[in-house]
């Protein structure tokens, strides 16, 4: 009986060790990807800063702002949510954070009598909302750990067309902002229509040199704005995707690190139990042998001692 328990424990330790190897590997992979993802976030900054500047300058320099994407609708009936989650699990509370924030907003909307629609990004958010019977629009997935600009473009074009067709009156991005490797936060950002304070605040003054107060436009300010704003939206979606990817890796690294630590802890306590079980088994066996030897020898002290010595020399 006792030997059987030891064998079972040995098997458990082996399986925990194998799991630990996997979680350790995932931790290291995630750690190396954080750096890369962070660099991609950084690389996207100049473009988004510049395009923001251009949009502001254009708006301030008299580019007529009657673009529908700039006009806030008075009566908001349908809100479109774009939750950005991972394609895979095993990343701690990363997906849950985004999904919970989205669900909370939707509940508030439903209570306020508004409609909603979800454009899920990432397999996890799609399956979560589909399983719970939420209203879904087109889903985008398969690129959560390494999003490209063309992914952002597809999403941007889709939500802009949803907005332009009047199917939705507002588009909100829900994603995890990457602050540093140690801290990330779930944020909700209105995407369409663009908020006034995003586009205002540009100096609109082309130069301190005072050559001219106005830009030259080719073709016309309105035409430029018309093509510029979708790009601006795409750039924001892209920035959100990159932030989400970096956060995903950070979350996964943390989750896998604690999984590895837990596995180590488990191995330690299991080996302790196993050793005790083995010790028990040995003790019991010795006791049995001693008892048996005593019974055979009829109880003289001398023989008993000699017998014990023989047993100590053999392997058990």
């Amino acid at each position: 009986m006792a030997g059987g328990q030891e064998r079972i424990l040995r098997g458990r330790i082996r399986s925990v060790q194998a799991t630990k190897k996997i979680t350790r590997a995932m931790e290291l992979i995630a750690a190396s990807r954080i750096v890369k993802a962070q660099q991609r976030v950084q690389a996207a900054v100049p473009y988004s800063e510049q395009i923001t500047e251009v949009v502001r300058d254009l708006a301030a320099a008299g580019g007529s702002t009657d673009s529908p994407l700039l006009a806030t609708r008075e009566n908001i009936q349908t809100v479109c949510y774009v939750p950005i989650s991972a394609d895979r699990g095993l990343c701690g509370g990363y997906n849950a954070g985004v999904l919970r924030a989205t669900e909370g907003e939707i509940k508030a909307d439903v209570e306020a009598g508004r409609e909603y629609i979800i454009v899920p990004v990432g397999r996890k958010s799609e399956s979560y909302f589909r399983f719970r019977g939420y209203k879904l629009d087109q889903a985008f997935n398969g690129f959560s750990d390494q999003p490209t600009y063309s992914n952002a473009k597809e999403i941007g074009e889709h939500v802009v067309s949803l907005y332009a067709s009047g199917a939705v009156d507002k588009v909100v991005l829900v994603y995890t902002r990457f602050i540093s490797a140690g801290s990330q936060e779930v944020v909700l950002r209105p995407l369409v229509p663009l908020e006034r304070d995003v586009i205002s605040g540009g100096d609109g003054k082309p130069g301190q040199d005072g050559l001219s107060a106005d830009y030259e436009f080719e073709p016309s300010p309105t035409a430029i704005l018309e093509t510029l704003i979708p790009r601006y939206i795409e750039a924001r979606v892209y920035a959100a995707l990159l932030n989400a990817a970096a956060s995903e890796h950070a979350f996964r690294q943390r989750a896998m690190k604690s999984a590895t630590d837990n596995a180590e802890e488990l191995i330690k306590s299991l080996s302790r139990i196993m050793n005790r079980a083995r010790q028990d088994a040995i003790t019991t066996e010795i006791m049995e042998i001693v008892g048996g030897a005593e019974a055979l020898s009829g109880g003289t002290k001398e023989i008993r001692l000699i017998d014990l010595g023989t047993f100590a020399d053999s392997d058990r």
Binding site: A43, Y47, Q50, I51, E53, V54, G207, E216, P219, I224
Partner: protein, 142 residues
């Protein structure tokens, strides 16, 4: 303004910064406006850019070829910024591959003409020109 005066030039795409530094002249092609060259001290300017072969004349006399696949150009505060959806440095493009692509798209457009194919051809021409292939491409690209 003297020819050699330098100005700040930036060519950025969402995924990376292609060029950032000093240059004496930038030539690109705007939507409906044809080719435009910017020198230092150019008036504030904002335009949409079509796919083209953009040339950046560096301070040391070298010319940087970039295939710009659409975007915007802004001149303000004496700085030229080109914002593009996608761009490639001429040195990164395989000339033979680009030429084959142009030939394939031209052949395809001969059979059926569609807007998407024409746009693709414009990009292919821009790539070929930036790679240093047969020129006259910007005229064809339009």
């Amino acid at each position: 303004m003297s020819e050699s005066a330098a100005m700040r030039v930036e060519v950025v795409s969402p995924e990376r910064v292609l060029f950032s530094g000093q240059a004496t002249q930038v030539i690109t092609r705007t939507l409906g406006g044809g080719e435009v060259a910017f020198l230092a001290g150019h008036a504030p300017f904002l335009a949409a850019v079509v796919p083209n072969h953009t040339r950046v004349y560096l301070v040391d006399g070298q010319v940087l070829d970039i295939a710009v696949h659409g975007g915007f150009v802004e001149v303000s505060n004496g700085k030229v910024s080109i914002l593009t959806d996608d761009a490639e440095l001429g040195s990164e493009i395989d000339k033979n591959h680009a030429a084959a692509e142009v030939a394939r798209l031209e052949e395809q457009l001969r059979h059926e003409h569609d807007a998407k194919g024409a746009a693709e051809l414009g990009k292919a021409h821009a790539r070929l020109a930036a790679a240093g292939g047969v020129s006259g491409t910007n005229a064809a690209a339009h």
